[in-house]
Structure formats: structure tokens, C-alpha cells
């Protein structure tokens, strides 16, 4: 379920490193909790991000949730497709439903994030 080459946060974001950049999205658990997602607000390309700074807003019919930067960086690209098809976050949260691509400042910042196994264990704790 949760890809091994991703890192995760306890706020249910994932990050997938590709060279100096990384894709960021929300986890399958998060999209389940939110329900049908119908609107995603994206940041401006070039925006500087401090860690835990909001990078976007995900809205379902009933809820509004911030998405945070898992690591510091600069917004390199945003997933423009979400403007028309926000439900990609429900249908393919770990793939086509990516939200932003960021240029990472320092890869050491990834060290504090959860592995797939640690995230799954964290989720088990939430369900009990």
C-alpha cells in the first residue's frame, strides 16, 4: 500500500525524492479520511517553503485541510491537472494525485521523516 521509496509525515503527507527535487502529496489514509476531494488550492511556483509551511489546501465536500511542506525547499512545479480533476487525490493518491514538486534545500532534512513501515505502524496506533 505505502511505497517503500517514499517518506511520510504524521500529518499524512508523502514525499518521493527524484534527484534534487521531490514530489509531495497526501497519503491514501488521508484521502480516505477526507472523502471525495473536489478542490485543491496550489501554491505559486517559486515560493520558498519553510518546513511545515502550508503548500496547499485540499477541500472535500465538507472539510478544508492544509497540506504542509515535509521539508524546506522551493516550489518547482504544481500539478495543474488537479484544477480540473481534484479527485485524482482520491483515485491515485500516491501517483497522479501528486500536489507539488519541490526543489529540496538539503537532503538531510529527510532524515526525520517516517519510512513506509514506520508510517504503517503509526496508522495502526491511530486505529486502536
Amino acid at each position: 500500500m505505502y511505497p517503500n521509496d517514499f517518506r511520510y509525515t504524521k500529518e499524512h503527507e508523502w514525499i518521493k525524492v527524484e534527484g534534487d527535487e521531490a514530489l509531495v502529496g497526501i497519503t491514501d489514509f488521508a484521502q480516505h479520511q477526507l472523502g471525495d476531494i473536489i478542490f485543491v488550492e496550489l501554491p505559486a511556483v517559486g515560493k520558498e517553503l519553510a518546513v511545515r509551511q502550508p503548500i496547499g489546501v485540499v477541500e472535500s465536500v465538507k472539510s478544508v485541510s492544509d497540506v504542509y511542506a515535509p521539508v524546506p525547499g522551493v516550489v518547482a512545479a504544481v500539478n495543474e491537472e488537479l484544477g480540473q480533476t481534484a479527485d485524482l487525490l482520491n483515485k491515485d493518491p500516491h501517483g497522479k494525485g501528486w500536489i507539488v514538486r519541490i526543489k529540496i534545500k538539503d537532503k538531510k532534512d529527510l532524515d526525520g521523516l517516517l519510512s513506509a513501515g514506520e508510517y504503517e505502524k503509526f496508522l495502526e496506533g491511530l486505529e486502536h
Binding site: 472523502g35 471525495d36 477541500e59 472535500s60 465536500v61 465538507k62
Partner: protein, 364 residues
């Protein structure tokens, strides 16, 4: 937290439970959008047992209901139902409600869950001088709503009532799945449908049988989430959001429930004054003219001035756009007027559109 008699059944159907007005209720089962669409195109079943029921009996029952409400309860024959309100002397809302005429000396009032205690105190507190008894029966009643174009098809085999003969806003006594109760052709979704009230202490089979018989036809259990989006599309009021003790019945655009010729009633002088002087603000329907979804309490601006906040606002699953209701200065309420709603510190364009946002085909 209070639980309805269907609580365990919601959990077994996978209902996501939340606290609502002191009740543990399902907010959704399969998702707000599929549930919403099921009610618009097939059918949906709601547990609305948290609603309040108040019985008014006595020789002055009609005069008393007339005094408390703006609509004309004298027009009701036994077997009829009316949408009306409990008015303050300021012509604002204690609550909105349904009045069922049981007989000339017996009326059954159905009020919002959030307001049961307040309403009962209000009603009982105004009984002086009227030969009536007032009884809060809320805890004894369970209530389900079966809504949607297939509601009659699904319910008919389960009841001894001739549903085809029952007109909108009428009710009758009868049995549903062997349980005694009242069935009315009413609801809060903008669709055809029925509300079923029973005092049976063990009504579970009512829920499970309707689910079982309706499922092959596309019926889904519906949570509070879709109940809210359905009622908003049909521009049905939500107490606390769209109407309250701070908004008058005329400001809420509910003039159709005000019947001045019926005689005196609480709030009438204020209504007459507002009619004579005109309104300064009114509830209007809007859609977003730029991307964004307006939510309750978002700040609202007209001609650069902050004028109010969003009353109700959501994404409409049927119309697939962001809609809502807002109190605007009267001059801003004509259809087509543009104004702004602040969404996360950005002023976003919205415009007034006709309401109801959704009207079912064939309904006059």
C-alpha cells in the same frame, strides 16, 4: 452522547459517527457525493430520530399554535402538514418546524434536534391563558426519512398505507414493516419522499428492511453530510446558519410562511413594520464566480465594505459548483449582483443566482 435506536445499525453499515447536537450520528457511510446522488436519482434512507417532537392538545390548541407561528394553522385539516416557525416577538426564529394537524384539538410539532429543550421551554412558557397541555415526546419517537424518486416504489410493499393516494404535505397513521406509526409525504432534500415516525421501542427492523428492500434499486443509507448538501441545493433552511433569533422571517426570504390575515401572532407587528418600511438585508443564494468554495462564516464584502459572513456554503454535488446562502444588503440581492467572499485572505468573486438552486423535475 445520546444515541438513536438505530445507532448500532449505522455502525454495522460502516457509518462514520460524529457528535451532532449531543447525539452520536452518522455523517457519512459510502461518501457524501454517492449518497447525495443516490437521493437525487434513486433513494436514500436517513435516521432523523434526533429531531424533536412536541404534542399540543386541548380546546385552545389551534389558537395557541396560531399565536406561536406566522403560517395559518387554521387552514390545516386533520391529515395535513405545514412548514412554519416559532417566532419571537421580534419576528426572528426560535426555530423552524413542521406542524401536523392530528385533529382540531391536537397538533404535533416537529422541531430541530439542536433546539428541542429551548423550543419546549418556549412553547410551554407561552401557554398561559390557553387551555392546552404540552408534552415533549422527543425521547419516545424514532424517525426515519426515505427520500428520492424511488421512495414510493420501495415503501409501498412495506406498508398498509396507500401511498399513491397521499399528497405532498399530508400524513396518515399506519403500519410500516409491522410497526405502528405516522407516515407523511415530507422531507428535507428537495425530493419526493416520506418521513416515518414510530414510538415502537424496538424499531430496528424498520431500518434494516427498508435498506434490504431498497438496496437492489440503488438505495443508500445517508448521513448528515449529504443531508446538508441536499437541503442546501433545495434552499431549505438550516437553523443556526441561515435562520436564527437574529434574523427575521422576512429577511430569511420566507414571506410565504407569513399569513397576516389570520389574526394576531408573535412577531406580527415587527413583520408589518418591515413590510411597510422595506428590508435592509435579505438572504440570497449565490454561486462562486471564481475558483473556491465558500464555507460558513467566511467574510463577505459588497462594494468594498464588509457586510456579513457566509450563512451556508458548500460544493453542490448535483450542480457540481460551489453554492451558498448569505445575508446581503437589500440593494445587493437582485440576481446577477456580484460581491466578494474572503477565502483564505483572498477576496473571491461570487454572484447572486436564482433559488432554489435545485428543483426536481415535474414539481410545480
Amino acid at each position: 452522547m445520546k444515541r438513536t435506536r438505530f445507532n448500532e445499525l449505522h455502525k454495522s453499515l460502516g457509518g462514520k459517527m460524529i457528535e451532532f447536537c449531543g447525539w452520536e450520528m452518522p455523517v457519512e457511510y459510502s461518501g457524501i457525493i454517492p449518497e447525495h446522488m443516490a437521493v437525487r436519482t434513486k433513494a436514500g434512507l436517513f435516521d432523523v430520530s434526533h429531531m424533536g417532537e412536541v404534542l399540543v392538545m386541548g380546546k385552545d390548541a389551534l389558537a395557541y399554535v396560531q399565536w406561536l407561528t406566522p403560517n395559518d394553522a387554521a387552514k390545516l385539516e386533520p391529515g395535513q402538514v405545514q412548514y412554519t416557525a416559532l417566532m419571537t416577538p421580534e419576528a426572528t426564529f426560535v426555530d423552524d418546524m413542521l406542524v401536523y394537524c392530528i385533529g382540531p384539538e391536537e397538533y404535533f410539532l416537529v422541531v430541530n434536534a439542536a433546539n428541542v429543550d429551548k423550543d419546549f421551554s418556549w412553547i410551554a412558557g407561552h401557554a398561559k391563558g390557553f387551555a392546552v397541555t404540552v408534552e415533549n415526546q422527543s425521547d419516545a419517537y424514532s424517525q426515519v426519512a426515505l427520500q428520492g424518486p424511488l421512495a414510493e416504489t420501495i415503501l409501498q410493499p412495506l406498508t398498509d398505507i396507500d401511498l399513491a393516494a397521499m399528497k405532498s404535505f399530508h400524513w396518515t397513521k399506519g403500519k410500516v414493516v409491522g410497526k405502528d406509526g405516522r407516515v407523511s409525504r415530507t422531507g428535507y432534500t428537495g425530493e419526493d419522499g416520506f418521513e416515518i415516525y414510530t414510538m415502537d421501542p424496538d424499531p430496528g427492523v424498520l431500518w434494516t428492511t427498508i435498506i434490504e428492500k431498497g438496496k437492489p434499486l440503488g438505495l443508500l443509507p445517508i448521513g448528515l453530510g449529504a443531508r446538508d448538501t441536499l437541503r442546501l441545493e433545495a434552499k431549505l433552511m438550516l437553523y443556526g446558519n441561515d435562520i436564527s433569533d437574529k434574523t427575521t422571517v422576512l429577511e430569511a426570504d420566507l414571506k410565504w410562511i407569513v399569513k397576516l390575515p389570520k389574526g394576531d401572532f408573535l412577531g406580527k407587528p415587527v413583520i408589518e413594520k418591515q413590510l411597510a418600511e422595506g428590508l435592509t438585508r435579505k438572504l440570497a443564494g449565490f454561486e462562486m464566480a471564481e475558483p473556491g468554495i465558500a464555507r460558513p462564516h467566511y467574510p463577505v464584502f459588497f462594494e468594498g465594505q464588509r457586510v456579513s459572513e457566509v450563512a451556508s456554503g458548500t460544493f453542490s454535488p448535483f450542480l457540481k459548483k460551489a453554492i451558498g446562502l448569505v445575508y446581503l444588503p437589500f440593494e445587493a440581492t437582485p440576481v446577477g449582483t456580484e460581491f466578494e467572499i474572503e477565502i483564505r485572505s483572498k477576496r473571491t468573486k461570487a454572484k447572486v443566482i436564482p433559488t432554489p438552486f435545485y428543483k426536481r423535475a415535474g414539481k410545480k
